[in-house]
């Protein structure tokens, strides 16, 4: 039964993730700058969160009991904007205003500019602390909501992430669920060469986190399954949870995949065309 349900969910999410990738490419191309690599690696995670996991009420970004989603790797916010557009929370045409003067779609998330953005991020390393604060508030208020936090892999080189991890472990906050987009590439090159994170599972475990490893964080079935398990664990008082999702930087566009050069560069019109054709082929 569970398997069948999951298949149904995956079938529903698949075209959404594909469209999200297309929108990411279109937005960043129109803007002339942005971060395609990490937006594409997180496509399945963001899609699953927004269209399957998060408890939210359409058109009501300030609903008190909504689940919170803090995108700590703020440079990948085009993925969130694209998801919000498909969710009907953002006019599709507005996506093309990304990074323009006066646009609500700031280059990095701004909660004042745009509802549904829970926290301004982009100065990396800060989002998990914010998410932890929200999760503690939720507990003080009788656990009305869960808090999800998307971390970049390069980002967890920041000491503050481990300060937050240690504190979340101390306070045993089951309502906090972090997802680490482990795409192996950061701005200057390979994560393992710049500052290796391994052994990563042991690090989080030693901080009293429940750890779930996704061999393929670009596989919707795995992402759905893992987030479902994290939510179930949260409901039974287990956590905090970190989902370590092995992903591919630039996933879905062959010439971007695994390439640091595409961390923060906009495609040309011709490159965008090739990228969109590849994404369309699936």
């Amino acid at each position: 039964m569970a398997g069948l349900t999951e298949t149904g969910v995956v079938e529903r999410l698949k075209p959404i993730a594909q469209r999200l990738r297309e929108d990411v490419i279109r937005m960043i191309t129109a803007a002339g700058s942005g971060h395609p690599g990490g937006s594409l690696s997180a496509a399945e995670i963001v899609t699953t969160l927004v269209f399957h996991t998060l408890r939210r009420r359409a058109g009501d970004p300030t609903w008190a009991a909504r689940d919170r989603f803090v995108m700590s790797k703020g440079h990948c916010v085009p993925a969130l904007y694209a998801a919000l557009s498909q969710a009907g929370e953002l006019p599709e045409a507005e996506l093309q205003t990304l990074r323009q003067l006066g646009s609500r779609l700031q280059g990095h998330p701004d909660r004042i500019a745009l509802p549904w953005v829970e926290a301004a991020t982009g100065s990396l390393g800060q989002g998990l602390s914010i998410a932890l604060g929200m999760a503690l508030a939720s507990r003080l208020d009788g656990n009305p909501y869960r808090v999800f936090c998307l971390l970049g892999d390069g980002e967890v080189q920041a000491g503050q992430v481990w300060e937050a991890a240690m504190t979340a472990g101390k306070y045993r906050v089951p309502g906090l669920i972090a997802i680490l987009d482990y795409n192996k590439v950061q701005l200057d090159g390979l994560v393992k060469e710049i500052m290796d994170l391994e052994p990563l599972v042991e690090k989080w475990k030693s901080f009293n986190w429940r750890v779930d490893v996704l061999e393929d964080g670009n596989d919707l079935a795995q992402v759905v399954g893992s987030l479902d398990r994290a939510v179930a664990a949260s409901a039974s008082g287990r956590g905090p949870t970190v989902i370590i999702a092995h992903t591919v930087k630039g996933k879905g566009v062959s010439f971007m995949e695994g390439r640091a050069a595409w961390h923060g560069k906009a495609p040309t019109a011709e490159e965008a065309e090739r990228a969109l054709a590849e994404i369309a082929r699936g």
């Binding site: 909660r111 914010i130 503690l136 240690m166 504190t167």
Partner: protein, 323 residues
């Protein structure tokens, strides 16, 4: 009753903490910053995060975005050191966080420079939506805590380690952004803030003995600065001497210069130059001229220079030893 403003803060927080929205965070300094009385009274709403101030600031932002009124406390210097978290997680998010920095200035004494908040006002003032308050005594601190907890928006409260004299007149109302006139005068205005306001008042008494009538303003709110009162007194008395236990750049002096830059009113900044060091608080105040005698002589020099006598004196001295 002389009391350290951090002690007044701790008492006020434990009292006002009955509001269930108030949560308090500390980074292994609760016994020093005096958040401990709150922690003892409301343990469920107190978060001890250990020596990890950046995370504390971020957690406070998250708690605020979820509707709580977090008070995050540490030494002023350690909060200032987490400026990047304050800038993005708190200020840019418009998070309703109250940061409380104790152990401000050289007045802390023996612990030396690494524990002295000397740059914190300068940093916090740069954030567009921050309110920055430095009360002068116990009564003003209690009033400031109450007002800041009610104020909707990020704020920084700067407090002393050492005891400070009472200066607030009985019945004085605390109004954010409104300087308190402690003494009127004709010859110059001494605008002081924080723990040295009492010293400025004592200096004015000393100056009065030699016929110099100095007005004394207690500028408890550094941001927004009370430009109207400063301009009024500066204009009437011919000049403003700012007095503070903070580095010379960007503190009260900087705020007054920014506010009065086009007024033509001369402003002289009397503050801490260079790094602090170990010593008793009294010795450090004497060294930096922030004791009553030092403030009085700074006032005399300022008056001298304005009258032209100082320029003549310097010219004469310059003839014997130029540098």
């Amino acid at each position: 009753m002389a009391e350290a403003t951090r002690v007044s803060f701790g008492r006020a927080l434990a009292r006002l903490g009955e509001d269930p929205r108030v949560v308090v965070l500390d980074a292994d300094l609760a016994s020093s910053t005096n958040t401990k009385p709150f922690a003892d009274r409301f343990p469920d709403r107190f978060f001890q995060v250990g020596i990890a101030e950046g995370n504390m600031v971020g957690m406070a932002a998250g708690l605020a975005l979820a509707g709580k009124v977090p008070v995050a406390s540490s030494f002023a210097c350690f909060l200032a050191g987490r400026f990047e978290q304050i800038r993005v997680s708190v200020a840019y998010n418009r998070a309703n966080v109250k940061l409380v920095g104790t152990h401000s200035g050289v007045g802390i004494g023996e612990d030396g420079y690494s524990q002295m908040g000397l740059e914190d006002i300068a940093l916090m003032r740069t954030l567009p939506n921050f309110v920055v308050v430095q009360p002068a005594d116990a009564a003003e601190t209690e009033a400031a805590v109450e007002v800041l907890l009610r104020h909707d928006g990020p704020a920084y409260l700067r407090l002393t380690r050492q005891k400070v004299a009472d200066v607030t007149p009985p019945g004085q109302r605390f109004e954010l952004g409104r300087a308190v006139v402690l003494r009127d005068g004709r010859h110059l205005t001494v605008a002081a803030t924080g723990g040295v306001v009492g010293h400025a008042l004592a200096a004015a008494t000393e100056l009065a003995r030699s016929g110099i009538e100095a007005a004394v303003l207690n500028v408890h709110t550094l941001k927004p600065i009370d430009a109207a009162t400063l301009e009024d007194f500066g204009g009437r008395t011919g000049g403003i001497l700012t007095v503070e236990d903070h580095g010379v750049a960007g503190g009260l002096g900087g705020a007054v210069c920014e506010a009065l830059g086009e007024s033509g009113i001369p402003v002289r900044i009397h503050a801490v130059h260079g790094f602090g060091e170990s010593g008793t608080g009294e010795a450090l105040y004497a060294k930096h001229g922030l004791d009553p005698a030092g403030i009085a002589s700074a006032a005399r020099r300022f008056l001298d220079d304005r009258s032209g006598a100082g320029a003549a004196r310097r010219a004469a001295a310059g003839a014997s030893h130029t540098r």
